[in-house]
Subunit: 255 residues, 2 copies
DNA sequence: CTAGCCTAAATGTCCATACCTTTTTGTCGA
DNA sequence: TCGACAAAAAGGTATGGACATTTAGGCTAG
């Protein structure tokens, strides 16, 4: 027994035992040694193999289950369902509904609209020319009217949409989109760029918030006649990432 | 000791013990009996209170931690960080991007289209009349062409869209929507009802799948000129739940 | 041939116990 | 006063056992 401890068979003795075992098992999964669809060895067998107790094996298997590798069924066994980590696929199932609630059932309150002149930096950001007249719109997204503030948002609108700006002032509603329909039927969205920013200290004070409000979420979409839906997400303000995604209407392959 | 077992103090003896305990503790947290910021009783104390072992208490506390109620530190204790369950809000941030990948980057392959006559049950489901002619369309959603099958889907289409059915046969693509544009500009979606079902054994065999394939995801949407987007989700086949959601174009409140 | 029962196998739940590691706190001595 | 050290407290890891519950599959009786 003592020799099994001194022996650094699979891994150097860094972490707890169940972690080392979980790494070994993960390797076997990603390498395909335990193919998807098959049953893994039973807890007892693994315990024997690693010369440990069932408890330790269970701790390791818990990780594999939580990361989407395996599915465990009483009376059956441990079935491999994926050879790659954490199919967030399935992990996200639990929150699929709520996710869209965030996107849709949140509440957007416009704080101000302001006429601005693009500087070089801003021009780069919004895709305009320095010196052009634009509008800046700022607002706060809430969980619900009077609820919890989620994020602070700044949007930019070209000056040629000036006639739409009054519609925004004082707007409060679950969603925010500014569309214009042209005579040729095309629908154009006025808002060119949306940024989620750290909540300005001034606003924070007004709202009575703790400093450094964090995350944000924003969904923007526009619909056009051509059956294309574009949704863009602004992510965590810290990294300023913007995910953009196209949902194309399925074209019949036949025909 | 024996009396504590017979005594149904907190809850009737339905589930496993750690679940009942976790519910009791959750109540105490949401009710504020354990205020945020404070330290909860230690494992030993809780074990004594519930007359159980430390193991069982740990299982209960594990749940509380995973749901964002508490934070545990070796050498310190169990600190309450929230009196409400973990705003799935923030939990889901990590998967917002992937969520849409599921909806959009997955691949839908139609298996068959079949002309059927509604029976009473089906009529109720799809909102038609018993005896009407409809079409049943079945398909499988994949992670990618040739990838992993996710779920089995059945859709129902009224008979009056018969002329669109040929477009579906053999269709393979990332998305599936069947729209018809009327002369008045309205866009109507043919598919009236989508169900995600357990993968039929026959299909499973054809695809070489293990028995009991599980979860599913499906996004359906339709676009109309009126700027309304409707997305419906089918959930886990076991509970047959369907979540439906409307995104209304924001109407200017002023004016 | 089929329906139902039975059983074996696998995971799920639970206990008592022990020791380890981290953190806090208290004490003692320089 | 301050630092080092020791002790206590708390959760983390681990063992070994026991029984419960679920499932698949085989067997038997009809």
């Amino acid at each position: 027994m003592a020799d099994t401890i001194t022996e650094p068979a699979e891994n150097p003795g860094d972490g707890p035992r169940y972690m080392r075992i979980q790494k070994v098992l993960e390797d076997r999964l990603t390498s395909g040694l335990y193919p998807a669809g098959s049953l893994m060895p039973t807890e007892i067998e693994l315990a024997a193999e690693f010369n440990t107790s069932r408890f330790t094996i269970r701790e390791a298997l818990r990780y594999l289950r939580e990361h989407g590798y395996v599915e465990r069924r009483q009376g059956v066994g441990t079935r491999v369902i994926s050879n790659s980590p954490h199919s967030t696929f399935f992990k996200s199932f639990g929150s699929l509904e709520e996710l869209f609630q965030i996107a849709v059932e949140t509440y957007y309150v416009i704080l101000y609209t302001k006429r601005i002149v693009l500087d070089a930096e801003l021009a780069e950001l919004v895709g305009g020319l320095a010196g052009e007249e634009w509008f800046e719109v700022a607002g706060v997204r809430w969980t619900k009217p009077g609820g919890t503030p989620i994020c602070y948002i700044q949007s930019y609108i070209p000056g040629r949409f000036e006639h739409l700006i009054p519609l925004l002032e004082g707007h409060q509603g679950p969603f925010f989109a500014l569309l214009e329909r042209h005579s040729d039927g095309m629908i154009e969205e006025a808002v060119q760029e949306i940024r989620a920013l750290p909540m300005p200290a001034e606003i924070e004070r007004q709202l009575g918030l703790a400093k450094g409000s964090w995350a944000l979420q924003l969904l923007r979409r526009y619909l056009t006649d051509s059956g294309v839906l574009i949704a863009s997400f602004n992510w965590h303000p810290a990294d300023q990432m913007v995910y953009m995604m196209h949902i194309q209407r399925a074209k019949p392959t036949a025909e």
